[in-house]
């Protein structure tokens, strides 16, 4: 299945896009997607301390991705 991944902060700058879509096998969990991402974008290996949100809420590595989920890679936040 194809999923959309939103990018923010430094990750957006490194990849040069706001959103990328990647093809993942079903079933895949967040950890699988992270590994696939790092394979596709090796430049991110130095910045892999990002969190992942699904449908606007933080999820952990074991979350199983469903069709139409919107993922977001969240680098360390720095608001305030």
């Amino acid at each position: 299945m194809k999923i959309s991944v939103l990018l923010f902060g430094i990750l957006k700058d490194i990849i040069g896009e706001n959103t990328v879509s990647i093809e993942v096998v079903s079933p895949s969990n967040i950890k699988d997607v992270k590994l696939q991402f790092l394979k596709k974008y090796p430049k991110l290996i130095a910045y892999q301390n990002f969190s992942v949100a699904v449908n606007e809420a933080y999820e952990n590595d074991s979350y199983n991705i469903k069709e139409n989920d919107v993922l977001a890679l969240i680098p360390p936040v720095s608001g305030g």
């Binding site: 902060g9 130095a46 949100a53 606007e56 680098p75 360390p76 936040v77 720095s78 608001g79 305030g80």
Partner: protein
């Protein structure tokens, strides 16, 4: 519960009076406010401006969670959490937290909890611009 919270992300100038007016109530004996301001230096480098970007729909949800938790965990009446986005200059205000409570201790504690948690969980990022370049804060590999 939600009527006792005011959550905002805006590219307009934040308004301290709005936050104060939202939380003010006859039943409260005190209001604590935290105001974040843009500092002119990071370590020894002069900062020109900060550029705040957000994952806005999620940031709003995370700010709402903080406000709800503050209402549940502390003896407070109302809380406002307002954050700015876009370019801010030295002295501008990126964040305001206002809390009202019958007694001051809870207001101070809830205010501290809210700003500390915001800095850990809310998907907002700042890029510091210097004379000779720019850097995303907190993202050193």
């Amino acid at each position: 519960m939600i009527e006792n919270t005011s959550i905002l992300i805006t590219s307009q100038k934040l308004n301290l009076q709005d936050c104060y007016d939202f939380v003010q109530d006859a039943s409260c004996g005190g209001i604590a406010q935290f105001v974040g301001t843009v500092r002119n230096k990071t370590q020894d480098k002069s900062v020109i401006l900060l550029d705040f970007s957000t994952y806005k729909p999620m940031a709003i949800k995370e700010m709402q969670k903080i406000a709800n938790k503050a209402l549940a965990d502390f003896d407070i009446l109302k809380i406002a959490i307002h954050h700015a986005e876009g370019e801010l200059k030295i002295g501008d205000i990126p964040v305001i937290i206002s809390v009202s409570s019958p007694h001051r201790k809870a207001a101070f504690e809830a205010c501290q909890f809210a700003i500390d948690t915001l800095k850990e969980t809310v998907p907002i990022w700042k890029k510091e611009h210097f004379e000779d370049g720019e850097v995303w804060v907190n993202t050193h590999p």
